[in-house]
Symmetry: C2
């Protein structure tokens, strides 16, 4: 925990791990899986997860059994979360559009990527919420094959809640494989795991490094780093909520970062007092700012994964947000709501990538295609000018392909 | 030119160049630019472009002069192209959406990436159309700094038409730098060229390799490969148009590929006859198919950059398109219209990447941010269920941050 003298010093907080070293480390794993398929997967799983698997795929019986192991209340919670994710993601899904111009019909359609791999972290902890966040949008997009890979526990099982979440999300295939070997399998395929066209989902540095390594051959979502929150608050904010939201962010990962910028020194002190009830976290930074505008400016440079705006006039200040992954407005909007249940996605750009990348959404699993049907009017209105440019670029057949069409319609 | 016995053999055409070797070759260039900035740029430009530049930036006088050098008709053509690109791209730009749910307001906004670098190929040839295709959407998105890099000619000049196109597109900064060194400068910055957040635009293998190399630090659009067309035609199609559209595609690059699939053997023979008037291109493949459906299926597996559908019922067959960069319907819709003037984009995924990537668009220069404002009803409706999931994931502070909010609203 550190109170910064100069608020802009939050921009000096180191957040980006160099992955170069890890890319080299996982290269061999990826090559082996590419070469030897399932048998490499089984070896690496024994080495890294401590279990020698007979089968890589999760069987239907395991899913049935998982439903028995998870209490009903929790299944209900997962179902409600799924429902809300579905609502928000469906409404904000991209829409096709065909426009009748004078000279042509031009259109743009969004179509699903036919197969997608989702990495769900696992092992000791379980992340059913991440399974929902990645798989529900994929299914809304219309992806045919949604394939989940998640590392098994030492007894060869997968956390039953993760299995239930995947099943509720409509996942098509699930495999007990984690780490870089899972990414390699999804990218290049093995006897058991057919390759996919795009790989998404957060993982540790090895998973992220492997995603970067295979990204020349398949699409990936984004490099995932440690989680972050930046909270902008004035004296009206409740220090207890702020303290807990910081602690919630920090419990994800020892590398996670929490920042509080406040126009009120008193609030900062109160947040510190609240936090101290639970300990002295390393990566919590607090600073006083002279105005909300200053705080917004610093936040835009920081480009936090999560931004909380807890001050009077926060709603109107939305227009000041330039860079952030997901934004939470007002004291009731704790990040944890977005993490689990409100319907927005929690797979978000970290480490400043929110400046140029988006959180996961239905678009993540679609590509757009443009269409055009030029009519005679189009040929005569646009033809000559296109020929001009084609000739200037020295592309004679481009010019000729249009000239012939101009000639053809003149004859009609 | 080859007539294939088996139409599905078009899927065996090799289209993907391995970039690994080139990535290694450009690594040194990128490192040098990172280390030595402008002086490295000047050295590499002397080495690769054969000109020792005194200044890297294009001066206003050069742009003024360019307008004098280009004939008015051509300037008009560029302006019309810009206007149509602007129309189509504005209408299909992503829209923000805020939804009032019972329990919260949830929203999604699209905001511009603050700076973007555009690589415009140059040297011997000039590509004003590519400058428009990349820069106009960037400006519609609202990118503050649109920075163009393009290689100079041996006399240190940049093609005047490219300068005019950049100026008409509203480009903010232009530099005479090409190749991997341009990508390095855009990614990491030098004394003269400030770094950008995203780099787009097609280039040769060195440019593409450099983009892949820097993609761990900045966003890039997609790996660009040689151009491709796949034409599906029945006996109603005009063989002359088909022949010319193939030849147009092939004149881009010795590695470009053209494929014709037809239900009519007669048409194939006629196309061959037409093509032979101009020569015997290597990479033109023709094959008879038993049905339009078979052709569509092969096309979807091939995922061509450009798809022409020239057969009866083509309009209705749009729904059969699963993978393609841009689609042209009917005999008048030559690809060259989309290349230059109709308004759709010509920077498109090649080598099968249309299965998972989109052509360049306004979205290319934006990122989305989600917003939420949870209300009291939301806290009471969703709170307990979110707490359940948080606890199941072992994230105690996540649970507590919600529990405290439930407690707070109960007290109201």
């Amino acid at each position: 925990m550190k109170i910064l003298e100069l608020a802009r010093d939050v921009l000096k907080i180191s957040r980006k791990t160099s992955l170069d070293e890890f890319v080299e480390k996982v290269r061999l794993i990826v090559e082996e899986v590419k070469k030897r398929g399932d048998s490499a997967l089984i070896e690496f799983t024994e080495k890294f997860d401590g279990v020698k698997l007979k089968e890589l795929e999760v069987r239907d019986e395991e899913i049935d059994r998982a439903y028995e192991l998870v209490e009903d209340d929790l299944i209900d919670s997962i179902e409600l979360a799924k429902e809300n994710i579905e609502k928000f993601h469906s409404i904000t899904a991209p829409q096709e559009l065909f426009i009748d111009f004078d000279w042509a019909v031009l259109g743009k359609k969004y179509l699903p990527i036919e197969s997608a791999g989702v990495y769900v972290p696992g092992g000791r902890a379980s992340y059913p919420s991440t399974a929902l966040m990645a798989c529900v949008p994929a299914k809304i997009a219309g992806v045919d094959r949604v394939v989940v890979c998640t590392p098994p526990a030492r007894d060869g099982s997968v956390n039953p809640l993760t299995l239930v979440a995947c099943d509720i999300a409509g996942v098509d295939e699930m495999f007990k494989v984690g780490g870089a070997q899972a990414i390699a399998a999804l990218a290049y395929g093995t006897e058991t795991i057919k390759p996919v066209l795009k790989i998404v989902g957060p993982g540790n540095v090895y998973v992220t490094a492997a995603k970067i390594l295979v990204s020349k051959d398949v699409a990936i979502d984004m490099p995932a780093g440690p989680s972050e929150i930046l909270i902008i608050a004035d004296s009206s904010a409740d220090p207890k909520f702020i303290a807990l939201d910081c602690l919630a962010q920090l419990e994800h990962d020892p590398m996670a970062v929490a920042v509080v910028l406040s126009t009120s020194r008193k609030l900062i002190d109160e947040v510190v007092t609240e936090v101290k009830k639970y300990g002295e976290p390393d990566n919590l930074y607090l600073a006083e700012v002279s105005s909300i505008e200053e705080a917004m400016e610093i936040s835009n440079s920081f480009a936090p994964e999560h931004l909380e705006m807890v001050f009077e006039g926060a709603e109107e200040a939305i227009s000041l947000v330039k860079n952030a992954g997901s934004v939470f407005i007002g004291e009731l909007s704790g990040v944890a709501f977005g993490d689990y249940i409100s319907g927005t996605n929690h797979i978000l750009p970290t480490a400043g990538y929110a400046k140029m990348l988006s959180g996961l959404s239905v678009e993540t699993f679609m590509k757009s295609i443009t269409f055009q049907q030029i009519n005679e009017r189009g040929v005569s209105m646009l033809g000559e000018k296109a020929v001009k440019i084609a000739k200037a670029e020295g592309l004679e057949f481009h010019a000729k392909s249009i000239e012939e069409r101009i000639r053809a319609i003149k004859g009609r």
